[in-house]
Symmetry: C2
Amino acid sequence: MASGSDLPHIVILGAGFGGLFATQAMARLEARITLIDRHNYHLFQPLLYQVATAGLPPSDISWPIRSILRQQRNVSVVMDEVLGVETSQQRVVLRGGPVDYDFLIIATGARHSYFGHNDWSHFAPGLKSIDDATLIRRRILHAFEQAEMLPRHDSQAQARERLLHFVVVGGGPTGVELAGTIAELARFTLARDFRRIDPRSARIVLIEAADRILPGFEVSSSGYAQAALQRLGVEVLTRTRVSGCSVDGVELETPDGQRLSTDAATVIWAAGVEASPVGRWLGIATTAGGRIAVNGDLSIPGHDTIFVIGDAALVKDQHGSPVPGIAPAAKQQGRYVARILKARLHHRPAIAPFNYRHQGNLATIGRGAAIIEYRGLRLRGRLAWWVWGAAHIYFLLGVRSPLLITIRWLWEYLSYSRGARLITGTTGPPENKPGS
Amino acid sequence: MASGSDLPHIVILGAGFGGLFATQAMARLEARITLIDRHNYHLFQPLLYQVATAGLPPSDISWPIRSILRQQRNVSVVMDEVLGVETSQQRVVLRGGPVDYDFLIIATGARHSYFGHNDWSHFAPGLKSIDDATLIRRRILHAFEQAEMLPRHDSQAQARERLLHFVVVGGGPTGVELAGTIAELARFTLARDFRRIDPRSARIVLIEAADRILPGFEVSSSGYAQAALQRLGVEVLTRTRVSGCSVDGVELETPDGQRLSTDAATVIWAAGVEASPVGRWLGIATTAGGRIAVNGDLSIPGHDTIFVIGDAALVKDQHGSPVPGIAPAAKQQGRYVARILKARLHHRPAIAPFNYRHQGNLATIGRGAAIIEYRGLRLRGRLAWWVWGAAHIYFLLGVRSPLLITIRWLWEYLSYSRGARLITGTTGPPENKPGS
């Protein structure tokens, strides 16, 4: 992958928010940029829960990286997988071969983490990729189909309850959004679609280990979210830990130390994340969660040409607290590293260390309820939901026809329909085994 | 699945055009109807090629069967797979258990057929289901990605040509639509997306065994289609048979008996179909292609309560020619069987045998070129294409927001974009092995 060009070669691993914003911020830099991702698309992760709950098709929230960067002539996009980094040789080893770099930006994000219980992943899939989302969509829709197929006999009551029981582990924004949307799917969208079961009787439980859901938000926001979820019929269990996951459901540890098992066919994991294996690639130590503790300029100790940003990095804000693993943080870091490289290539003096500006928190609880904590602004309820929708359409501007998405949303909002209710993929019924 | 109800039980296998139209035509009949399908959605097959070529997301052409029939209270929808029919017991055996019937309508359609060479399916997938379509989409997009990743050296010229070589086997409407759309994808949509390869140099070949493409159409239409494809840069080989398919591409037999092998990474099969295994389920003999030769009222010999319709049936028109396996034929047969059952249940005299009314042929060759042979009407070119688009939007009315699809189409028409260019699924690069 060498080239005769004399321009410095900047290699970026990962086309998430961090990698993409770094790339775009260097649009006019005299350099060769190579952007490498396992997928051919950039994923708008904040709306992934909509795919998992059949509200949007995958292609509405993911766009070919090549299309986004079509006009930026200093970039080559490569679809490949990272195997390691040979820092002494200044090269990245991909499945397809090695790539030399002058500067390296690692923005490969995070996966969900089971706190050492990787065997739980089979029973409680997490939500980080398009394939995760279509798997979860399949499991949710299958559960209703299977419940409908059970004979009407009373002997099947337990199996039916198990199939109509959904547990979401983790009360952060993703967990709250998932629980709220599954409740709406059951209460409204599917309400009249079945003949033997009443989807409205589905039991949706949200589990959080801390003493309140949305622990990163203000205390009053947590209370609002919990009330809004309960209005939708979601049971919220705080101060509750998961101590086991199996084909039979989830084993819980309640605040008073009791263990109880809950027999649910569908369990979704939204509880923790773990950085991609950057420490292994680089051969350096990581902090908890696999993150790399970076210098003030986001480079790694001992290598001023290697930067780690986004969910893979442990960055401290001015108060010494870790910067949260959210899209705005990754974007800010991407733009910051682009500024660093511009200064270096133009032989300008070094710029000040990275300074995270927290802009706020955002979460929705189904249709018509949302929480916005944005600088001085505190907004909740229906208006917040519309602002949330408008803001997302604004973010999507330029990558996809915003008119089209607006109309789809309005349509689904007015009609309560969720258009992407497809059970696809080859693995079918065996995933949700009825009892025993 | 028995019930205390005294109403006659009509079981319909398959929710394609035949099964769905039969179900809807019996909306006011005093009967219990059970509609069984392997999938939870009805697939609008005429637009499946758009999914395979990244123009539409799967959920735009497939709708949950339950939603379509939500208002029809005499229907239960069951998602399950047929294992067999016990005609002496009047029951269908599903994976989930047996279902008794008073009347049975089999409308399970067809799969692609490799004329006895089932081992070709791995190298040349066919296009009948959503999963087929996303597999083909993945292979097409992967081929371009892999070609881009090859080193620039001349030694790789052959491998690059192989990856940019697409072969479509079968010159019926599906093959013509696929070849035309792949050519447009390469010439327009992807034209500026790559840095090392020029997607416009892709070679697209359409192979047909008969002496002209679109053999079911009028001779002049075939000529028009061939010229339109050639304008898009598609090579059309007629009177050419496929004698082998492997990882290296396709082996062809030319009109003069010569064999030549063509080294293509992506081969798509649109050459033949074979009925679903209805003969095996019923334990009766089938004709060529696995179809069941039915009586004049579409019942099967010896069983006047079992009907076979659509692609699984061999039905003769008034001239003794077989009715083609197209959507309008399946719809007419579905409605006809509904009329038969209404007459029987109301003890009215038997109605006249089924009489197929051929309404015409329809094919598109990419954007802005189409052929319509509809009764007296002969339309070709741009106007035909707009009529085709309007007609499809009309067909989709009532099942999906037509406004939404109209806007998506107009947007993609005006912008030349194909929004659903996602490489999804777990099986990745190994599918298109470069040379060797």
